[in-house]
Amino acid sequence: MRFLFKIDYEDDIKLFPHSGYIVSYGILLALLLIAPHLLSSYLMSQLVFVCIYAIVGVALLILTGFTGQASLGHAAFLAIGAYTAAYLQTYNVPFPIYFLVAGALTGLIGAMVGFPALRLTGIYLVIATISFALIVEEILARWESVTHGNEGMRVKTLSLLGVAVPRDSPTFYYLCLAVLVLTIVGTLNLLRSPTGRAFVAIRDSETAARSMGVNVALYKVKSFAISAAITGFAGVLFAHKLSFISPEMFTLQLSIEFIIVILIGGTFSLHGAVLGAIFIVMIDPFLTYLKDDLPGIIAGIAATFGAGPHIAANIQSKVAAFASLNGLKGAIYGIIIVLFVLFEPLGLYGRWLKIKLFFQLFPLYKRATFKRQKIYVKSERNR
């Protein structure tokens, strides 16, 4: 086990507490950089989606994980970013400009959503953000002169400094990766500065934050704006990746997926956003695989246990019918969330920390190490 001896205040500030971090993150970055040469084009495409989902995950972590303001409206912010990009493209605005404009506009709208949200907490805030998302969805469908309504909009190939960057090229992947890395670094910087600490203070006790001089309303609006702006940037990449956008892509289901990203990844650390994004992007092909292959496998098992070919075929078609039921995916998502909330509230990253600690302390690890004591129950809290 490694013991850190801090000899400078710098040791509490720096991003990498010791050289081990630099090595492991360096290796990870190197692997990500050579990934286009190693992985199939399908996996590369999934990796781009992981990057985009992780960017949104980081945005949602700032708002939900660190400021404690739940949001089910992030699909709408993504949509605003995507449509801004698509609309500005029709006027031949160059990529760097519409990328920044999309982020700024989404941030502005995020701040506007933040104002009414100041008086709302918990489930009421969730309902308010859902309504915001529904309003945006409706506007996208009706404002045909700008958004082409339900016909959707075609997004032209990204052109960076005069060079075309197709959506399945390695360059596009590098672009997404760069945005993700910059987002993460920026967020980490924010979290180790007064603003980030004010966010955490608001999450844990608004009263105490206020009495320490934090302007709670201002910082909530800031948190909404930053989170929305980052999601807007992700929206631009999302639009380019899909090359076609329409209102039905930005539904409540997508917002729920973003919540799943941080719930499953872990809401207390930025690692959670990336792990959750990997999970949510990779579960889709996995479920498709199950849907396609599971009926055959079950029929095969039934046959080996002595079921006749007729019965086996019957079983196969029944299972296939069940697997292609509408809403099954939503149900599976729901079950996964429930299981995580019940058994692993700290998410995948929490599980990873436990595994790491197990090996660091081996053989002294105790199961109770992560059990939270719940003796100090708060009585009357000021709100």
Partner: protein, 252 residues
């Protein structure tokens, strides 16, 4: 003119007069304790000062400035820090970041500078960190720097609340029952620290407290409240012998 002054301060919840035309003054550098039975309105006065409640009537002055209409976050900027009766720490953050939030009123960096973590931000973070370290040393919190609040015992949390208030370098500190839930030794430590606040750091202390031995040891003056009204004011001994105070406590 006195350093801190409340004039005819009232807080009514409908017909209930939680605080009823209370006036008092705190002199610079003194320790003033507010005592009184449960529900006397002691904590309500604190919540009025830190603007959690809006007074029904009356005015509050600090350094001859009317602060009755200031927004809550400005109270801390003026140099008034407080602790809470039911600890209000940031549960899921480390002790260090709790204390650094106490430095919030001194932070001057802009959002864009923080996003890039410019050298100016780094420099000011180090200043904050050094100030926090001084408070940690003052209150013997060295073993807990990197611990999460949620894993700490009650007595330590109580000290951390005091530390967080001190990190803001207050001129006036409001202590809401600093010794509640502490054992005898911890209460002793607390009384020494409160004395040191005054003598070493020159902080003026306004304190709500039930433990009369602590009140006697540290207070310069005492105010006794009951049903939102001032019963008596004066030195600890005077107030304790005041017939109205005795009646309020013993129910005679």
């Amino acid at each position: 003119m006195s350093y801190f002054r409340a004039e005819n301060l009232s807080l009514h919840f409908g017909g209930l007069k939680a605080v009823d035309a209370v006036s008092f003054a705190v002199e610079r550098g003194e320790i003033l304790s507010i005592i009184g039975p449960n529900g006397a309105g002691k904590s309500s006065i604190f919540n009025l000062i830190s603007r959690i409640y809006r007074p029904t009537s009356g005015r509050i002055f600090f350094e001859d400035q009317d602060i009755t209409e200031q927004p809550p976050y400005d109270i801390a900027r003026l140099g008034i820090a407080r602790t809470f009766q039911n600890i209000e720490l940031f549960e899921n953050a480390s002790v260090l970041s709790n204390l650094l939030v106490g430095r919030h009123r001194h932070s001057t960096t802009q959002l864009w500078q923080e996003l890039l973590f410019l050298p100016s931000v780094r420099a000011s973070e180090k200043v904050h960190r050094r100030r926090v370290e001084q408070v940690i040393e003052f209150l013997d919190l060295e073993p807990y720097r990197d611990k999460l609040i949620s894993g700490l015992p009650y007595g330590v949390r109580k000290v951390i609340e005091l530390a967080r208030a001190l990190c803001s370098e207050p001129k006036l500190i409001l202590l809401d029952e600093p010794s509640s839930g502490l054992n005898v030794e911890e209460t002793d430590d607390m009384s020494f620290w409160i004395r040191d606040l005054k003598n070493e750091l020159g902080v003026t202390v306004l304190m709500v407290e039930h433990d009369m031995s602590l009140v006697n040891r540290v207070s310069d003056r005492v105010i006794a409240l009951n049903y939102g009204r001032v019963l008596a004011m004066g030195s600890p001994a005077e107030v304790q012998q005041h017939p109205d105070v005795v009646a309020a406590y013993l129910g005679a």
